[in-house]
Amino acid sequence: MAKLTLTINGEVRSAEVPPGAFLADVLRETFGLTGTKIGCNEAECGICTVLVDGVPVNSCIYPALKANGAHVQTVEGLAQNGKLHPLQQAFIDHGAVQCGFCTPGLLMTAKALLDQNPNPTEDDIKHALKDTYCRCTGYVSVINAIRDAAARLRGEPPIPPSLPHTKEPLRFVGRPLPRPDAVAKVTGAAKYTDDYVFPNMLHGATLRAGIPHARIKRIDTSKAKALPGVVAVLTHEDVPGRKNHGLVYEDWPVLCYDKVRYVGDAVAIVAAETRAIAEQALKLIEVEYEPLPVVDDPVAALAPDAPKVHEQGNLLKHIHVEKGDIDQGFAEADVIVEGEYQTATTEHAFLEPECSIGRVTEDGRIEVYVGSQIPYADRRQVANALGVPEDRVRIIGMLIGGGFGGKEDIAGQIHAALLAKATGRPVKILYRRSESLIFHPKRHAVKFKVKVGAKRDGTFTAMRIELWGDTGAYASLGDKVMTRAATHASGPYEVPHVKIDCYAVYTNNVPAGAFRGFGVTQSAFAIESAIDELAHRLGISPIEIRRKNALRVGSVTNTGAVIRESVGLLECIARVEQALQAEGTPWVFRKPDKPNKVYAWGFAAAYKNTGLGGGAPDRSEVEVEAFEDGSAEVRTSAAEIGQGLVGVLASIAAEELGVPYERVRVLLSDTDLTPDGGPTTASRQTYVTGNAARLASIKLRERLASVAAEMLDVPVDHLRFEDGYVRCNGKAVSFAEVVRQAHAEGIHTRLSHLYEAPKTQPLGTGGDMHFAFSYAAQAALVEVDLETGEVNCLKVISATDVGRAINPLALQGQIEGGIVMCLGNALTEEFIQEKGIPYTNRFARYKMPSIRHTPQIVSFIVEDPAAEGPYGAKGVGEISSIPTTPAITNAIFAATGVRVRKLPVDQDALLRAMRAQKAELAGSG
């Protein structure tokens, strides 16, 4: 140990630290300053940024002893005397805080910038924040917030947030209210799972297979068990209950027993006094494998002689969609285009790596602390593995540092519970970034064959589409994802004749599962590219061909559903078209001062279901309670992954109960205290849990109304609940008094409502497969360097039909974040695997968009209400992240004549294709 003395946020602190310690660990563990987060341990993501003697550094790899004698500033030191720093306030006001995990790093990097440069340009901001990543916001709000804070610090008036135009708000619904958790997130007070420490806590670590396919011959843990400091080493023999877990199919071993099917498979787990000892113990576990042949491609995996990943074969699911008569459709076509497309495996790159803490309570129950998207599914799977009834397990949801679908499956929840039970002590399992990358399910890589037929006027006659989705070693949600990919594969258009065959296939790659867009991101790329090609062939504008075929009221989808309402697609297309006209640039153009660049627009449209659909019961239960102090609490198990659900639920309860927004608390995801809100997936929470909250609040209001009516001696239906009062004809009684009176009369002011969304039909049975869809149209402007093939997306014009904007600020964040994530899907992101071995085993090998990639975003909101949705709202979480990729790749075609058929766009291949095309043109000319 070595002596370290430094000044942190103005206070001199000393400690004995290990010579190898890094500053971030010392700040967090020794000094308890957990506002500084660790995202990667490799100086890539920048979220651990603190200031050392005024300059920003990545504290995750900054030797602690190097800070000896230095002045260190962390996020906890930004607010002074209880007053937020202008940067903190601006981040809240502009909605630059979503999941909040990267927020401290962004704030500290921005602080360093403003200390040096009080009036930064957008370029200055992008330069300074280049290596500080955020996965939620898309950075637009971050840039605006920093400019606003700079103005405030210069003593100028604040710059208001730029918000989309939306419908006239109600009292709370429709207003850009700040997130209830925003202050905690900008001050560093917000605690995520790894920020919790229990007395006597052990640290767990997981032995991963490291090879993609092998039979396990022998596991010997004796040397690991003998290592001082190791408390438990467990293998499959120590799993008392079910040996497999899984959200839909139970095919994923808790700890592998016969085979390993991908490199991230868990073979053994260790609990030890320190993390270092636990990791050292992993190296002492001997596992003897008999390697098996590896299959890493979904098409190859369907060959009869392909190595079998699972006994029953490699086909997880064949999904078939058929409408009309495909042969007739192509016979009627004047033009047919055919093409093959391929999307990449991509990574959620949520900035908070997975963390679980398991704990045994005094009465022998198991608690798991975890940031999970589906707490009740966690409870079921943990209980099953432990072999105990579900009510013996309690999942306690923590703040979640980003999810995007990547925190739906089990990560360390079961392992932490097993180790806690085995040792009788709390056990924390925190994944390193390198482990998170190779372990958790990804976005499916999908191969497409697309054939589209149309009349000369652009009317679609037929679409034949085949899809092969690589679902990796375990099912996860692969069946559901690929079903969504298939049913959305013909795009948001009415097509009379459709035939789609989709195969979800097991391989020895890292599993694939839920990821924002849920299969539709992939199929939109294929179909929107094909339609672009068709338009080009027919000489019709890419906008016109989509307008001609767009779904509208009365249209029949490819699954046979009749669209009866809330289809704002035509309006989305029109809004983007108008904005494009206002731009005043040609579709393709050059700039005199940039001789080596060409600029072009691309266009795409999309739709995305709200809710589970396909006949699955889609329910959410919400409990609402009114308190004698006039406040209320909303409780449900639904995940706040940054998207803003807490604010949505608070504003709905405030709206219906007539209490101030600030007086509504939202308690999420504690399976002992909050009823089941269902999974946070499929853009369903605002609709389903929002409705449950609305109806529970209305029920509670009605119950309170009868009490208030007696107190005021007026008829019930004349009462108005507003501003924390119940009023009628000039008489008023406070909400708090009504609650007190109710209690005095023995009336409970806590009730719950189980909302069930409209019934849907399974695929193949006709009728409504989904109860609502959201729609979007986008145009993207790209700049292509003709000498290097480099592509930049400069601007995105977007229009999104969300039914109703419940909170325009949060909505804007969802849209900007979705666009930038989808820009990454087009231009930067690929999780690379070679014969089942991830090449992308650290963040330095996975490029998600940085602030430098952020385009200018012009966003329009279309509110075509869904009759059953809360206030007309439908899903918004995914839709914006779907059309951006094809809008960009279609723009690249317009700029270069090269059709992108494989994602992500590869400047190397693009340049060579441009050269080849030029040579071909020269040859034919």
């Binding site: 100086a43 920003p56 790899i61 500080t132 290097t788 231009l827």
Partner: protein
């Protein structure tokens, strides 16, 4: 397990500590590369050489610009001396990482890492840089200036033994009248966070606008950072015309060994962009030498 992290304050002390620990200790600079790969080569004792007296700054000495081993990329980017006399180095160092990395990472560390396409290394190579190697033997400190090229044995393999020797400083002769330098690179937005091709040039023109001296470094074009000697020779005596640029590009493509590196770039692509980088760097040199573009 790390036994010690030592931060000596003189070069003598640092060299003596290395000698004392006989191979169990190694030198570390900013550590932004080292700590990421540490799992593979964790020395028990680290000697941090970023706080050595006299070696934390940039100064002029005997006609050279001298950069101490503690100097960070951020310091280089902000240095008027280097902006003026070694613009290529400013351009290269300004593109490495974000501010968090540039505030910590040192140029000496960049050189010690010995990657064939390291931005700062290429720029210093084109500038005709040298490194001062220091070590402790027989109870005394020894130092020796090496031409930069001598520092590289192979990809990631430095000729400077970091368990025995310290890169104490770097130096180059600043560009003078009618002379300038520039750096250009192409990154790939996917995959590895390494440039797929970089090129630095230093060019001096005579009074008639003909090239009087040229030095060009590029990479990855072989196992170590590559000096394009044939291209340099070709350029001498020529004006920077369209014809010269095209012909120089052909000479350059003849003398380099471009290969395909998986997940980074194809050899074919590198052949396409290398002439682009040469053109961009040389035209920027010419503009700067004419006084049109002074800084990066």
């Amino acid at each position: 397990m790390r036994e010690a992290y030592l931060i000596p304050d003189t070069l003598e002390a640092a060299a003596a500590l290395l000698a004392e620990h006989g191979g169990r200790a190694r030198v570390v600079g900013g550590g932004t590369d080292y700590f990421v790969d540490e799992a593979h080569n964790g020395a028990p004792i680290l000697i941090d050489v970023t706080r050595l007296r006299g070696l934390r700054e940039i100064r002029e000495a005997e006609g050279y610009v001298l950069i101490g081993c503690g100097v960070t990329h951020a310091q280089i980017v902000a240095s008027p001396l280097i902006q003026r006399g070694g613009t290529a180095l400013v351009e290269a160092c300004g593109q490495i990482g974000g501010p968090q990395v540039r505030n910590v990472a040192t140029l000496a560390g960049n050189i010690a890492h010995a990657l064939p396409a390291a931005d700062g290394t290429l720029a210093l190579l084109a500038l005709g840089g040298e490194i001062q190697v220091a070590w402790h033997a027989d109870g005394a400190l020894h130092t020796e200036w090496w031409p930069l090229a001598r520092a590289f044995k192979g990809p990631g393999q430095s000729a400077v033994d970091s368990t025995r020797q310290i890169i104490a400083a770097m130096r180059f002769k600043p560009t003078g009248a009618n002379e300038a330098s520039a750096f250009a690179r192409v990154m790939r937005p996917q995959g590895v966070a390494l440039p797929i091709m970089g090129l630095a040039a230093r060019v001096q023109f005579d009074a008639e606008g003909r090239i009087a001296a040229a030095s060009i470094a590029t990479g990855p074009a072989g196992p170590v950072p590559f000096r394009a000697l044939q291209t340099e020779a070709f350029l001498i005596g020529r004006t920077l015309s369209e014809v010269t640029l095209n012909e120089a590009a052909q000479v350059l493509l003849q003398e380099v060994h471009l290969r395909t590196s998986p997940h980074r770039a194809t050899a074919e692509y590198r052949r396409e962009v290398l002439p682009v980088l040469l053109r961009r760097a040389l035209t920027r040199c010419a503009a700067r030498a004419r006084g049109e573009l002074i800084t990066a």
